[in-house]
Symmetry: none
Subunit: 164 residues, 4 copies
């Protein structure tokens, strides 16, 4: 093998290695969920900051693209009953790739999805406060907020979404 061929092979090998590395890096960051714990913490911190600014006590959850919980916090004296609701607003927003508000509109009596809230082992929440999170146009998770009126829940969830 002459020197040029060797150089070519070396360059090709390097390129393949780099490709493989970049591929594995891509896998590392995006494959399992596309939403890291670091992302979830940033989203929750922004939502909490908004809640404090508004004088609200919230339960805040972030789920990944599998609908599984990534991170959660209950602010001091926030409603106990909203632990389940915040977590499941995040689940619901991932599960149907839409806000829980939008799902709720379609799930009222006489609407097309009425009754859906009894499915999924009671994990669907059909009022606002759950918002999907996208990266590069792809669904990667959701935030769910519960602890006050629905408009307040939505306001705080949007603050979290904005930080994503």
């Amino acid at each position: 093998m002459d020197k040029r061929k060797k150089v070519l092979i070396a360059i090709l090998s390097g390129a393949i290695l780099l490709g493989a590395l970049s591929f594995s890096v891509a896998i590392d960051d995006d494959y399992t969920s596309g939403l890291t714990l670091e992302d979830a913490k940033r989203v929750i911190a922004a939502a909490e900051e908004k809640a404090i600014a508004e004088g609200l006590r919230m339960n805040i959850a972030v789920a990944d693209v599998g609908g599984n919980l990534v991170a959660f916090e209950r602010m001091d004296k926030a409603w106990l009953g909203s632990i389940d609701i915040a977590i499941n607003k995040a689940y619901t927003a991932v599960a149907f790739n839409m806000t829980t508000e939008a799902l709720g509109a379609a799930s009222q009596p006489e609407q097309s999805l009425f009754g859906i809230h009894a499915s999924n082992d009671g994990k669907l929440i059909i009022f606002g406060g759950g918002i999907p999170l996208y990266r590069n146009g792809e669904l990667v998770g959701a935030i769910g907020v519960s602890g006050s009126s629905v408009p307040n829940d939505i306001t705080v969830a949007e603050a979290g979404e904005a930080a994503f």
Copy 2:
């Protein structure tokens, strides 16, 4: 050290000790729940007395601030199906720091929280008879009553609340 200084120091020491004692007593009494079994018995006894006076047969439950059951009684021949409802009215009133009646009003079809009754593993009761209990302005538990019409359930629950 003259006599006056000694007296002053003794008084100060006593005052500091009293402060410390009141602090530790507060912790001892309040940490687990802020609502004792003695409180729960008094609340239930008052509710039962009212039920007897009204000729009603009730299930009566008291939960602590964690939503966990402290005491319960079912009067003779009271509805079996109301065991779960009384216990969970108490849970619900703690979980959202409001009466189950107020939660129910916001949870009707077309209202903001419609569908909430399917959350929390079916433990939310969205009609009257669950009332939060406060001490020094802080939520410490709730009473839940079930066994008759909702207005009757509320009347009996209020009699229990009044004894707290």
Copy 3:
């Protein structure tokens, strides 16, 4: 009234006020849970730091004295099946005021509590990784860790406990 009496009364009033304040602060801080979100974040951060140092990927949960979730995080690529286990290790450690390891030892076949894992709606975890948290000798919550071998789970939970 002479000057000394006035000073004495002022000091006494101040001391009584301090005592009253410490009492009301105790109530305010401790009534709902005795363990704040700030506490939970600190405990989880310490546990996460230990997990990173050990090259582990963990689910980490903190519950309050009512057994209710205060905060949770799942490290990137940590087991999904451990979300439930971490949360319920924290619940279990509060529910029996002992480590899940100690409860597990008493719950083996032929031991006194065999079968207990089927109670509490499947929420009891009977292997190590759940540790109660105490303040001034009183139970105020627990940490639960799941995501690796039980000894690793315990190591990480202890790191969280140490930060409390």
Copy 4:
């Protein structure tokens, strides 16, 4: 009317009244279950008294012949996880008309009923502390105690049983 007639009427009236009273007492005592709330309170009070004497903090439940809860109390700072267990020890003792200790002996690995604890929606408790209550040789309910070691649970349950 002569004096004898008056006496006769008085006696007859008294007899009818007594008959009516005994009839209504019979209805009151036997209709739902044969175990009244009054019975349950007496049983629980005796168990609580024993627990206090032994320095124990217990959850104490009484179920009727239908296995349904009649009364319950959790002593201050008793284990949260034992709420479910005390209630279900009472259920289990009624459900199989034997102590939970006896059921447990038959439910160990390699024994005839191994696995039974996963039936009945997780409501069966297979260690001591649940004891049936009999009246005139008939099963009318059970007491369930949980909050300490199994021998302690049994001791307190027996104190309740003795008061029945």
